[in-house]
Amino acid sequence: MSWFAQVRHVMIKDVRQSWWPLAGYTIVAALGTLYIVLGPVASDLYVSAMVMSTMLGVVLCALLLQADSPTRSNAFWASRPFHPSAIIATKLALTAFAVIGIPAVGEIIGLLSLRTPHGALASIVGGSAGVYAIWLLAAILLAALTDDLRSFVTAAVIIAVVLLLIMAMLPDSVTGPLDRNWVSHALATVGGIGALSIVALVYRRRTVRRTVWLGGFVAIACLMLSLVGTGSDSRIVDRFGSMPVHISVDTATLRNLGELRLTVRVDSPLRSLRLRFSIDTLDIRLADGSRIYLHPTSPAASVQDPALPLPNLARWLGDTAALTEGFPRNSIVPVQLGDDDRSRLSAGVQAVEAVGHIDASEPRLVTTIPLTQGATWTGNGTRFRITNVATHTLATDVTLNTLGISPRAGDWSGYNYVAWNETRREAMMFGKLSSGSSSGWVLVPGSTLLTTTAQMQAAARRGQTFDLSVNDAWFSGARLAVFEWVPRGRFATRAVVAVAQH
């Protein structure tokens, strides 16, 4: 029997053997697809189902491999005329075609139903299939090193705990670079080649020595750590200077509030951009020569908001007008310090060096939807559905469901919503009353499907003054305009500020 014939022969056997878990897996994937096509509905259930689906995929991989285990001395295939390489090829092919392929097809159907552009679709499906392949390669390696499902699960739990402990013990200087894409690509390559080599070795030698286990652990660790840094698509497009950034540091609040305040202002020549400042590191140089390094997790601070570009707009109504007019401003970014750091400040602060970045994005009108219950728009990988509209005197409340690929879809900071009466050339911003969201994998891990339900209100009130021209007729002639923020780049910023002694 030829090598290829053996691959086909064993594959048919494996499908027959594992048809029941395969069928269950396919059903879960089909339900997930249905959710995306028809959604958003029952999002919590979807999230649980997708986590289960991935776990099922991992277990399915282990089952498929251990059906012809390389390490069990009584394994049926080992005493028969099988090519070990044909067995490995079968398992990898089944993993690719069935375990990854089935949900990937569902993902493609789901993304097509969201009218995702083909380029983005290929990128999303390719990316998530790659991430899932890393998970499954780790599962295949672990299944090859263990005899049965029980020892597989036990080993997986132990390795996960050990990895978490190691990560917790390592300093930030070691774990920090894991965020970088090139590091994660290198780890994935090393881990992938290592995992495949070890599986081939185990199938050939049919014994697992301590050194093989050690190599397996390292390969799994590389594969898992490579997943830490995926997903960041922001690029530094310019460094220091083309966009003047002014940072000043206020240390007056250090002693009493234990808080450092940075004031940031950008003299941007591009008023059409939204600019958001984030601190990456803060280096506080103390008078005694020591330093405090911080990696603040403060949310990004807005330093410039441009006007939303609605065509033929005569005026903005309501109290959100200020947001839409666009102006450079000083933004204050507070940085909290821990107790230990605060006590060290008694030595006095000499200087503060702040390194951060500014994300620039541009508003784009995505669509306009009639302000009526049930109105739906699907496009660009996202579906908006108005589930409720309640118009009161001078205001309207809208409940909007969104479903789409994260990070932009449904993310409040990713979209702006406007009630727009095109005939009257007037518009007013929607303000959020409440919102809830859930996110899950788009059938396979790697890309996130975000479902958001937001209650928002557009009110014709500016301070205590009501615009009486806004009434039921105004709202009935209005549409919901949806704006998204298109990333334009990331600008690195750095400032060293000398601090006068208090």
Binding site: M1, A5, Q6, H9, K13, R16, Q17, A67, R72, S73, N74, A75, F76, A78, S79, R80, P81, F82, H83, R205, R206, T207
Partner: protein
């Protein structure tokens, strides 16, 4: 020509030595019985020959090639059955046959059908629903239907009733004769082995204690009963005597060095004996004597 040629074969499970310098040659067409107490290394030995266990030292050539380098082509010519071997329990017997048949160029459908009928196996039954005996029969069917040149069998009679055992022994004898199969068989069913084997090897504590044709073994091992004369109170024991037992004037032992002129040597050893009787030892008697000696040696080693 030797189908199996093993020299100085050693294998360890960590610190525990399972095989220590085993030498064994199995000529083509031999029906070779490998005996040994539990834990003597028989299963490990067969697994090494089949190439499913590696990491040994020494040589283990099977069909002219080192067992660790056996290729698919070689495995097509070997049948293997082991007590602990797992068959895919989810398959029906007919599915198992269909799965295996394409792998073996010499798979004999008629023989498979014949064996199924002889073993009274239902082809539609799932393997996991078979009784222990039926399971072994199914494993035997899978090992025999490819018409292997070499058949390695580890406890193949487990769970079989006497009738099937008898049929299997007959079948193996016939096939070995007509097909020229070489069979290496480990079993605790010494009665069956005695009928079947023309060569015998005894593995004790990881060492090959004896390896010779059954005929030679029968000539060499004699069960001796001596009734001592009144004045001959305590005869000196010979190191070649095994399983020595004395009760009053009665002395019994298994002589392992019998041969030409054995009776005369006995008579000279016990000149005043009231009675001396010797007969061919059964394989069981040889097995028990050798196993006992191996156990005693192990106890002595442990004590030392």
């Amino acid at each position: 020509m030797a189908i199996v040629d093993v020299s100085h074969l050693s294998y360890s499970y960590g610190a525990i030595a399972a095989l220590r310098g085993v030498d064994l040659t199995i000529p083509q067409g031999a029906l070779y019985a490998l005996l040994g107490p539990n834990g003597s290394g028989k299963t490990t030995f067969l697994q090494i020959l089949m190439g499913v266990r590696r990491g040994y030292t020494g040589g283990a050539r099977v069909l002219g090639i080192e067992s660790s380098a056996l290729t698919v082509k070689h495995r097509e010519r070997i049948g293997y059955i082991a007590e602990g071997q797992s068959l895919p329990g989810w398959m029906r017997l007919e599915q198992l046959e269909a799965y295996l048949a394409p792998l073996y160029p010499r798979w004999d459908k008629a023989l498979a059908r014949d064996l199924r009928a002889r073993f009274d196996l239902d082809p539609a039954r799932k393997i996991q629903t078979l009784s222990r005996g039926e399971y072994m029969k199914a494993a035997l069917l899978c090992a025999l239907a490819p018409r292997p040149e070499l058949l390695l069998m580890d406890e193949p009679f487990t769970g079989m009733d006497a009738l099937v055992k008898d049929e299997l022994v007959r079948g193996l004898l016939e096939s070995s004769g007509t097909e020229g199969w070489t069979v290496l068989l480990c079993s605790h069913d010494i009665g069956e082995l005695e009928l079947l084997a023309d060569w015998v090897g005894f593995l004790g504590r990881g060492r090959m204690q004896i390896a010779e044709p059954m005929e030679t073994l029968r000539q060499r091992f004699k069960q001796v009963d001596v009734t001592l004369g009144g004045e001959h109170a305590s005869p000196a024991l010979d190191p070649m005597w095994l399983s020595v037992e004395r009760s009053g004037r009665q002395l019994t032992f298994l002589a392992s060095d019998a041969g030409e002129g054995f009776d005369a040597r006995l008579a000279a050893r016990f000149p005043n004996a009231a009675r001396i009787e010797s007969r061919d030892a059964t394989l069981r008697e040889v097995f028990v004597a050798l196993a006992r000696r191996a156990r005693d040696e192990r106890s002595m080693e442990a004590a030392a």
